[in-house]
Symmetry: C2
Subunit: 344 residues, 2 copies
């Protein structure tokens, strides 16, 4: 039995719960995963705690009905989250809170640090801790012989970190480039079809793939956090989103879009990372790319990452129109890896 403490119960958390507790039976790969939620903590929806296991079906029903856990839910708790992290009996912390650029990845970093210090495994979908302080967290996990897994922080369930770890053994990553933010790629695609910026943004938000704060997407912060995360993990860099040369898409006017199309090009918000002597540098910038370029084929909410190494030609991984289910799946993949490696 794997006991988990869950932080955050928004779209991703709810979807994960559905897959784990209700859809799982249909998928033979999940059948053997014996897991309980012993705590679910949210910022504004209440908190549930029960060492015997939360009634997840009831929790989902309440969230869907009222947007929060019911006051009369007998598993409601007044024990603060930090105390639960420090004292509760659990094997794995599932950290699903949202990125805070302003707070430089906090409070998620503190939560994860506390759990790792207690030798608990951690799986997170929050890119903040990876973008701001991956080195320290992964060292702490290694020292304490526990797993710190982050697959869903970039490109949702597309296994970019697993691919690099398992598939690029012995090779040195010398450069990365990609389209990593769904919202801006969707907006640029829609503007090419004649839609306005705001109209496209609204659709992205209603479809659920825009980040909570659209400025994070539009101004390139989400992209910056993702390329920082990738760079820290795959290129052993020690940078933060603040170190990245960054420009969003707010200067890409309909006129620029049309002009690019007429000359066989498309505007894309491109993330790049490269080695410069002993440093790793990274940028997020709108670029006009040829329509023949592979990156030009990334439509709508899709994303992609090109990995260049010293030992082979570049490989590219592409994610086709991801949904919230893909992010939840990335988390699930990490949970399964924890079980496999740690045997809990």
């Amino acid at each position: 039995m794997m006991k988990t403490l869950v932080i955050g119960f928004g779209h991703v958390g709810q979807k994960l719960a559905e897959i784990l507790f209700f859809e799982g039976d249909g998928s033979h790969g999940l059948a053997s995963l014996n897991l309980t939620f012993t705590g679910i903590y949210t910022q504004s929806r209440g908190a549930l705690l029960d060492t015997e296991g939360i009634n997840v079906k009831q929790a989902l029903l309440e969230i869907r009905k009222n947007g929060c856990f019911d006051k009369n839910n007998p598993q409601q708790t007044s024990i603060p989250l930090t105390q639960a992290i420090d004292e509760l009996d659990y094997d794995l912390l599932i950290e699903l809170s949202t990125l805070s650029i302003e707070n430089k990845g906090e409070p998620a970093i503190t939560y994860i640090t506390k759990a790792l210090e207690r030798k608990k495994h951690v799986v997170t979908a929050n890119k903040g801790p990876v973008a701001f302080t991956y080195g320290e967290l992964s060292n702490l996990a290694r020292k304490n012989n526990v797993q710190f897994r982050i697959e869903s922080t970039v490109m949702d369930g597309a296994p970019v970190f697993n691919l690099a770890k398992q598939g690029l053994k012995g090779a040195r990553v010398i450069g990365l480039s990609g389209i990593l933010n769904s919202t801006t790629n969707y907006i640029l695609s829609q503007m090419e079809k004649g839609k306005g910026f705001k109209e496209a943004l609204n659709v992205a938000q209603s479809e659920g793939f825009a980040e909570a704060d659209p400025h994070h997407d539009i101004d390139g912060w989400d992209s910056a956090a993702k390329i920082a995360a990738l760079t820290n993990v795959l290129m052993q860099a020690d940078i933060t989103p603040d170190d990245i040369k960054r420009e969003g898409i707010s200067n890409i006017t309909p006129e620029k879009i049309t002009k690019a199309l007429q000359s066989g090009k498309r505007w894309k918000l491109i993330c790049r990372a490269w080695r410069d002597k002993n440093r790793v540098l990274a940028s997020v910038m709108p670029e006009e790319i040829s329509q023949q370029d592979l990156f030009a084929a990334i439509e709508g909410s899709g994303s992609c990452l090109r990995i260049e190494t010293d030992l082979m030609n570049p490989i590219v991984i592409v994610q086709d129109s991801p949904t919230i289910k893909d992010t939840a799946y990335g988390v699930l993949n990490d949970i399964l890896a924890v079980r496999e490696i740690a045997g809990c």
Copy 2:
């Protein structure tokens, strides 16, 4: 010290030797790989054997000078290959012979079986054994608690098998599609630029990415072997290249190419696999695809694979213009995985 027995010393074997013994120093990931070739067997270049380790530098020099090992090379051996596989002291068999469709993957299957029966690890770049009899070989490896690794058999060094194994935990692969043969994709790309079929084929061969026998490529046999391999490994099928509905590109005339381009399409040789009730079916067929399709962006010798699962939207892995070095790297990645898992 990892002792290896090498079968095949063509382009891939020679490149692997270069990386392992001469380029390795520059790559920190390889520095700790303590490996010797205790035997190198070839079909027409002679065979070397020395339990203390082959002089690989000398072997490479001879091959480059004369196309075969020197008769006076003191490590030349008259011990037959099958005897060496059965009796020699080695940890890992590196099987790099070429695909034989006619012989249904033999003699490579026999070599690999013998090694696995002796509880030796096996790494192969030959897609024959995986396409014709993956189930038996992988069961034998599992039973004997040794590694049977095949990363370079499809898409060279692009880690498709590793990606699926590590990155798609719990998910069920429901379909595969891809462009898997460099030669035909290169020929089709060149024909779109107005080149003739033969001219394009000649370039592909001189660049080293056409298979030894061009009919294997042109008639879709190489693609069929690759989709059979993928299907056997990722969809737990039990099919062979003979079971696959197959059509090559010899009917794609310059007229068809032009007509497709004029209507916004491109001809591509597409491999597909899908589930049909309890069976897995697969095909290799030329298809006209939209120029907006991601697959249309696969230029020249590039290749790609789309993986559909029950738990997330499709992901695509793309390999950009691979060279022989990429195949050698795929083998190297497997060798490093054997070391990591088996600790030898």
